[in-house]
Amino acid sequence: MNQIIGYIVMGVGVAFLFLGALGVFRFPDVYNRLQAGTKCTTLGAFLSIIGAGIVEPTWFLKCLIIAVFILFTNPISAHALARASYKSGVKLWDKSVVDKCKDFEECAKAQEDDK
């Protein structure tokens, strides 16, 4: 029973990992790619590692540590990367509609400089 539940959870996680990588491959600019990639791979890695912990119950604690570590650090690194790429002057996609960072002084200056 443990095995079946574990493999189902793992399968859902692997599907999310694949969709995240597909989003990274197909989306048009850095910010869209970050959004697709980070959300999908965070959930996907979390679910596959927890599933591995369910399949082998003696490993569950260590798997939980890895999963929680990924759950905490992946959004932080994605946020830092998005902020850095906006400040280093990477443009948004043509069809993007909302750009709230433009209202702040330092962000607007960074985008202006690079034209």
Partner: protein
């Protein structure tokens, strides 16, 4: 058998992220590709640990996750205001 299918799907995902990392027009694109690839690889290593019944793979994947976090933060800082 189930694990084999999972490995196949994960290998395709890693190849897609790798293509983005090679092709990406700007530097942040490449970093995104590498970051996604590393996160997928962490999950892959835990599944490999299940497959080979070796517990050491868990340690390897934990260290790999830490290194990828530090690396991405360092690159982000470099893009932001230089070293």
């Amino acid at each position: 058998m189930t694990l084999m299918i999972f490995f196949g799907v994960i290998i395709i995902a890693v190849i897609l992220a790798l293509i983005r990392a090679v092709k990406g027009p700007t530097a942040p694109d490449r970093v995104v590709g590498v970051d996604i690839m590393v996160t997928i690889t962490v999950a892959l290593m835990v599944l490999l640990g299940i497959f080979f019944k070796r517990r050491i793979y868990l340690d390897v994947s934990l260290i790999y996750a830490v290194l990828s976090f530090v690396g991405v933060i360092a690159v982000a800082r470099y893009l932001d205001k230089g070293l």
